[in-house]
């Protein structure tokens, strides 16, 4: 896959040894790093400092008292913390896995390269291009218990639709949120996996075929290992994105019914932009950042351990 990558560093080995010359690459990345550090570090440090204070904008405009770890204790003991964490993990793990599986299936169908399938492939990506907030509205319309298209389709197929509506029943609401994500992002996996599978050299597959390997074996033993790097990166990207979603939950259910669709992202929204409890939401921010960091760091460690860049 990286046949095209040219290792040119040595070709440009520095001639003169001035400070600029010696540190040139670092100087070139410096502006972007400084810019990003300023933009990310500010809110993170702001949150870190605020998380040790009682600061609720509804109670007073300024931080009122140093409270130590009180906000962290409150955040971890909040009535919705466990539900939010569980739902977030369910959404991000299941979402990524299902999107990968479905995407791979679609990619394999697209690989049949029949005339006309190119159009299907080109159009398929459209859901991924839509803003999440718009997707939220789209599905609120489709899920409407009175006249939503999806409700009607399910009923026409004799599938049980809860009387409270798809978004109104604790048994289906989380699945409905999950489905929205799957709808939007399966095409992403399909298109990306299709493209990387396309780049697997034919000779290798031919050779395997001559050895009478089954299609399944070829897929599992040859194709997938060859696209491993791509797969690892898109899975990571997607996981991080789902972990932080809140737009769809905000538009579709506001975390209800009960706590059945509360996510960490929605909790952050509620504590921050509804309750304006700056101290508490800052502690929540750090808890969330730490959780996702640990997961991703572990993932990166195991997935990229043997990678050369």
């Amino acid at each position: 896959m990286h046949a095209t990558t040219i290792r040119s560093q040595r070709a440009l080995a520095p001639v003169r040894r001035g400070f600029v010359r010696r540190n040139l690459p670092y100087l070139l990345i410096a502006p972007s790093v400084i810019m990003l550090l300023a933009l990310i570090a500010y809110p993170l440090l702001f949150a870190l400092r605020s998380s040790f204070y009682f600061w609720n904008l509804q109670v007073g405009p300024e931080p009122m008292a140093f409270v130590g770890l009180d906000n962290y204790v409150q955040a971890l003991n909040a009535f919705d913390f466990r539900a939010a964490l569980t739902n977030t993990l369910i959404l991000s793990v299941l979402g990524t896995a299902i999107e990968f599986g479905l995407g791979l299936t679609i990619a394999l169908v697209l690989l049949k390269a029949l005339p006309g399938m190119n159009v299907v492939r080109a159009l398929l990506i459209l859901p991924t291009t839509i803003a999440p907030i718009v997707v939220g509205f789209l599905f609120r319309y489709l899920y409407d218990p009175g006249g939503g298209l999806l409700t009607w389709v399910l009923q026409s197929l004799w599938l049980p639709v809860p009387a409270e509506g798809i978004l109104g029943s604790p048994t289906t609401a989380l699945a409905a949120i999950l489905f929205v994500d799957i709808w939007q992002w399966t095409p992403f996996f399909a298109i990306v996996l299709y493209a990387s599978l396309l780049s697997v050299p034919d000779e290798i597959i031919e050779a395997a075929r001559l050895d009478r390997a089954s299609a399944w074996t070829i897929l599992m033993r040859i194709k997938l290992p060859l696209i491993r790097r791509t797969a690892t990166i898109i899975v990571m990207l997607r996981f991080m994105q789902i972990f932080n979603t809140f737009d769809t939950v905000l538009v579709l259910t506001r975390g209800g019914p009960g706590t059945s669709t509360r996510t960490l992202g929605y909790s952050l929204y509620e504590q921050g932009l509804v309750n304006f409890n700056v101290g508490l939401v800052s502690a929540q921010t750090w808890i969330t950042v730490l959780i996702v960091n640990i997961i991703v760091a572990l993932y990166v460690f195991f997935a990229f351990r043997n990678e050369e860049w």
Partner: protein
Amino acid sequence: MTFDIGNMSRRNMLKSASVAALLASSAGALVAPRRAGAEDAKTVRVLSVEDPFFFSMKAMIPEFEKETGIKVELESLSYDALQTRLVSAFVAKTSDADVIAVDQMWLGQYLDNGWIISLNDYIAKDSDIDLADFIPEVLYSSNMWRGQIATLPVAAYAQGVMYRKDIFDSFGIAAPPTKASEDWTWTKYVETLKSLEGKSFGGKPLFPTVICGSQPSPITHMFTQLSASHGANWFKSFPGAPWDFSPQLTGPAWAKSVELYRQLYKLSPPEAINYVWFDAGTRFAKGDIGMFYWWTPYFYLVKNNGYMTGKKSDVMDKYATAALPKADGVAQTVSLGGWSLGVPSSSDRQDNGYAFIKWATSKATQKKMAEWPDLNFQFSDFARKSLYEDADVKAIYPYLDVQYDMMKQGNGKITRPPVPGYTAVESVLGLTLNQLLTGSEDPKTALERTNSLFESILKGNLMIPYQKESFADTLDGAKALIGTLGKA
């Protein structure tokens, strides 16, 4: 091959120069937002919410500009976006607007934090504001905090009953009364609804009623009317002094109200569990609901099919309004809410701001807003008594007597106490209520759990024990203040 920047051709130089100039000018445009005239002293920036009053108020603005020579820059936002923008702006101490829409819930915190100014001085000096014309219950509920009038009401809401005349007639059910009476109780209300259970009308299955089940705010707004009617209090002592915010959800009135609300849900379409404010009204306008109670703007909103379309709904000529039921042996308390206008302390054109507020809440403007025919007459949320007696307006909105009767029994400080940190407790209450509607948990147990959650949240917010000064906030005190300030 040599590459030297000095060898750049003249054409290329020109090209780069013009690109650079373009970039520089567009960068300039990026920094300065299009704020034509914003620095002008003859401007007022108004930040409103997109509730019904907004549309008719917007239509009247050219008149204000003509009268005063002040140019209005009007912006509207959805509820969530407005609160976000306002609080962020306050924290950053920026002057984002000269007039802002303030929900009844936000008044106390905005004023205590010094984010909006008291209007007492303006009002005291104003000879033609006619303060005494405002319904005192409204000013008390939505505009007064610690003896200050900090906002004036542009749209005042009470709650009332809407029912289908044709359905009631065809099943021979007596129409509910238009005046509050001792016989018109919540028990009677539920009985009436039960007589509609399982019925069909016009070939369509009928639901006796519809409720709001969505958490946190919609379900709380509707439920607290029921609980306030039954005499339920959120806190041990508020708004009377000394303030004590120990939660009181374990009282019998709460459990009883939950039982009732559960019954109402059983008589509603099941999908009502997810209904937000407008869903209940929209459902009634669709025609398969017998009777429900809700905020008074729905008295006119249910006439329309669609919010901003002005198209008539199926029930346009078939519904009537009635008084809100009360609980047996308990004095009635009607929920009051709505939108008011205030002046941010960061504004440097506070005089213009007050001029706009005075104009928008005046009798003349409110009447013109009510008479604005677009959107099929979408405004009757008056806070002024005289408009409830106005024949022109009454001809358009025949239910005004019922609405006024509800307003006079209103007390927004009891139904949803506008205390700092309200939204945090509301989200817990909304969640519990939502769970209780579909679940089978015993209301007492759930309320006890919620009570202790309330307590820990309020303690976390330094509300228990209350450390700041209390204020004996009574309706009589409000009336006295109106008397003093209105003497000008």
